[in-house]
Amino acid sequence: MLSRAYRFELNSSRVPVGEPLLEITGVSLRFGGIRALADVSFTVRQGDVHSVIGPNGAGKSSLLNCASGLYKPQDGHITLHTRTEDGVAKTHDLVALPPHRIARQGVARSFQNIELFGHLSLLDNLMLGRHIHMKHRLLPSLAWFGPARNQEFRHREFVEEVIDLLQLQAYRHSHVGALAYGIQKRVELGRALCIEPGLLLLDEPMAGMNAEEKEDMARYILDVNELRGVTVMLIEHDMGVVMDISDRVSVLDFGKLIGDGTAAEVRADPAVVEAYLGADA
């Protein structure tokens, strides 16, 4: 009889809880004359849900794009800490790495505007998330033979656990493009989890959702963080959700970091209140 407990680890980071996982130091990003980010520094620690908030155009997505390698900041460093299997600490400067190498270091992300393969099934989309872990040679793969086949079975088992975690069973064989928006967002989260992230970057995972869908998504993010130990850095607009689920919050305004601390600290910070929450909040 199959046990109901999960067999696979989702979190691939071996950094001990509470230690720095991602250090952002003096990051500046300019598009021509526009300064999207100006000397931003803060640290994401292993095991946290770390939210980045700020008004529209504050540079939140730009920062996430720098971390995942889509943008290259002109100044500053983004340092990812990892541990090898024997516990030897290593650092990687993400600014110098191309996006696919960053993904190989365990940085997974979802996008604000859903970037799934609409004509593939949910299963195929999630299996694609496993792609960086597949090590097959061309011939056995083409022939669907031996090790390539077994390997795919193993990855499918992994994917099935993610489907179970996010309760996507009913949509397994549906074309993703035809699914409801809220479900597609969940599939995006699922695909990012299939990478076995050390750090999960979520760009507005709840944008455009109704209250109930937001609540569900918040629940899934907490499950991923609390039960599966994955460090989450997320951008979100809904202050209620942010304050509820975040261990730490960083506030950006016009590309500058104007606040950084626990949810309670940030809420009490006068500069933050004025810039973002509104003077009367």
Partner: protein, 650 residues
């Protein structure tokens, strides 16, 4: 056929099945996208471990173990484990809330509760102070429970491991306990549906259940090759009767769907041979077909319409035991091949040889629909106190307005006041700790007083309604509100209907959000919430037409005069409807008294204050105004542009 049902127990049957076909599949559950089989041998092995585990916790003969959760193999394993050591099992509906859970656990004095997952464990933790007698809770879905460091909680796997350790010094203990079990031991405690108050706990013995299974399967044989999908709550007698009693007696495979959302597709994959569901399942299948046919192109609608009328003709001959004849037979084959079989397949009924409805009355029109598309649907009549079944239709002798004839060895009598009385070996032994109620229900001669009014029509039983719900029309005819309600509910747009009144018949209707929603979409009607949709004028117009149509099929004296559309669905959490979805009239009468009075007076509108209780316990008051719609003098629009709704109506 052997009469083993009356002299054995369920744990003994399990041992026999495991010895006969150790590698046969007893249970299968869809998990991670695959049907994961559990053989009879593994099943028996798991039951033994858990039985030892329960014994190590001090559970003894005569006690009751409670299980709360959805249908999973572990539910049955827990049940059989408890029965193996002479204890009984009581199931709690997974949707039950605090008061109900506490009531059942207090009544049954359960010391061990098997809970499914975090959701159920959280509910139990919340009421823990009220449950001093509960010593241990074991859960079988550990997700999210890893962090709960509490001695009160234990993992099901750990319980099994503990059982294995406990058994090391006690070889032969399990076999001895099983052989000590007597057919007259209490096996299952089932909650009565409780349309009137908190549920009572009816005790059923192995003999009660197995003799029922014996009688049922002598009418409708079942065998090891049959398939059954278990998706209705195991706390319900209907599921106990099919999945557990018949399942063990005849040794067929039970399949458990992956998730509530995948039930339909999983059922279609399995293609069960036999099914037993309450009317709401059949009603929702019918609505689904109605909506999908309605949304199909003209060609498909035309083909289905033709095939349906052929199927209907054949069905009306078949149910009275006549053949179709040559010409109609050929047409029927064609109809089946082009339209009816695909519809059955879509519903997951392609392989069904017979299926049952019971628990509440099913409208004759819904009944007729299933026969027309070639599904051998039969009515079952019974109640928890007689193992769920006492009367049923025999194949080829189905009358849509009756509930059939008594099972073998079941006596049926109509008392002088019209109450239905039943007597058989399946009549229960009494309610837990409620002698008074027991003696009211079963008299000294062993007759079960059902509380239903009915009459016999050449051997077939016709049930009117609960005796106290039978109404008398101004012209003196006795009728049941369920009769009117079922006519209304045949509309795909109506989810629930409650009829009131003796002078003027009035009704309160709740809309089906799925069908009305898709209608609104089709009509390009914007809406936000259920309340908004239900209050829409165009929806009111649509429902007025539906009620008008239902009225055409009702005798003059009991036609619906006024109705209103309720602003919310009836919800078991608000006590308005039972967990098995029977309307609690007493609650409705009290809560909506203002509405009912206004309906009676025939007002045009009515206001009431509604108190909403949120899940976190806070509540809010809102004033709501509802329009009352009148049917008197109503003329449906002649040349309306609305597409006609295909509904199989004759």
């Amino acid at each position: 056929m052997s009469a083993q049902g009356s002299v054995t127990t369920m744990p003994r049957l399990l041992a026999e099945r495991a010895a006969e076909r150790p590698q046969g599949v007893a249970l299968q559950e869809k998990l991670y996208g695959i049907w994961q089989p559990i053989t009879w041998e593994e099943y028996a092995e798991r039951v033994r471990d858990i039985a030892h585990g329960l014994a190590s916790l001090g559970v003894r003969r005569g006690e009751i173990v409670a299980v709360i959760g959805d249908n999973r193999p572990e539910w049955l394993i827990s049940e059989l484990a408890a029965q193996s050591l002479g204890a009984a099992v009581v199931g709690i509906y997974p949707t039950s809330l605090d008061e109900e859970i506490v009531h059942i656990l207090e009544q049954s004095r359960a010391r061990v509760v098997i809970a499914e997952d975090q959701e159920q464990v959280d509910k139990l933790l919340k009421v823990r102070p009220l449950l001093p007698q509960v010593e241990q809770v074991a859960y079988y879905d550990p997700h999210g429970l890893e962090e709960y460091a509490d001695e009160w909680l234990a993992d099901f796997e750990d319980l099994a491991a503990r059982g294995r350790d406990w058994a090391v010094d006690r070889p032969g203990w399990f076999e001895q306990e099983v052989s000590l079990g007597q057919p007259d031991d209490i096996a299952v405690v089932c909650t009565t549906s409780g349309t009137t108050s908190l549920p009572k706990l009816g005790q059923l013995t192995h003999h009660n259940l197995l003799s029922m299974a014996e009688h049922l399967t002598s009418v409708d044989p079942l065998g090891p090759k049959d398939r059954f999908v278990s998706f209705l709550p195991l706390a319900w007698i209907g599921e106990q009767m099919m999945a557990v009693a018949c399942g063990l007696l005849r040794g067929f495979t039970l399949s458990f769907p992956e998730d509530a959302a995948t039930q339909r597709s999983d059922m279609r994959e399995i293609g069960p041979n036999v099914m037993f569901s309450p009317p709401r399942i059949w009603e929702s299948m019918l609505s689904e077909v109605q909506v999908r046919i309605d949304e199909a192109g003209w060609l498909k609608r035309r083909v289905f319409g033709l095939a349906y009328s052929v199927g209907d003709k054949v069905a009306s001959r078949r149910v009275s035991g006549r053949g179709a004849g040559l010409l109609l037979g050929i047409l029927a084959l064609l109809a089946d091949w082009t339209a009816l079989r695909p519809v059955r397949d879509q519903l997951g009924l392609a392989r069904v040889r017979r299926c049952y409805t019971g628990g509440a009355p099913l409208g004759p029109d819904v009944f007729r629909f299933f026969h027309a598309i070639g599904v051998n649907l039969k009515q079952i009549y019974g109640q928890t106190e007689i193992c769920g079944i006492a009367v049923l239709h025999h194949s080829n002798d189905v009358r849509f307005h009756t509930v059939g004839v008594p099972l073998p060895e079941t006596e049926l009598r109509i008392a002088d006041d019209g109450e239905i009385l039943l007597r058989s070996s399946s009549v229960f032994v009494g309610y837990v700790g409620n002698e008074a109620a027991t003696s009211e229900t079963v008299d000294a001669e062993g007759w079960l007083h059902t509380g239903d009014a009915g009459y016999l029509e050449d051997g077939h039983l016709v049930v009117i309604d609960r005796a106290k719900d039978v109404l008398t029309a101004p012209d003196g005819t006795r009728f049941s509100s369920a009769f009117i309600e079922n006519k209304l509910k045949f509309s795909p747009y109506v989810e629930e209907a409650v009829a009131f009144g003796t002078a003027d018949i009035t009704a309160m209707i709740t809309i089906d959000p799925a069908t009305v929603g898709s209608w609104a979409e089709h009509e390009r009607l914007g809406y936000t919430t259920y309340t908004d949709l239900a209050g829409n004028d165009r929806v009111a117009e649509l429902l007025t037409q539906e009620v008008h149509r239902a009225n055409a099929e009702l005798p003059d004296s009991i036609r619906v005069k006024h109705f209103l559309v309720l602003f919310k669905q009836l919800d078991p959490d608000d006590d308005e409807i039972t967990r098995t979805r029977k309307v609690r009239r007493s609650v409705i009468n009290e809560r909506y008294a203002e509405l009912i009075d206004a309906l009676d007076r025939g007002d045009d509108r009515v206001s009431m204050t509604n108190t909403v209780t949120y899940q976190d316990g806070t509540s809010a008051k809102r004033a709501i105004t509802l329009n009352i719609h009148h049917l008197e003098g109503y003329v449906p629009p002649q040349h309306s542009k609305q597409r006609p709704v295909w509904s199989g109506r004759r």
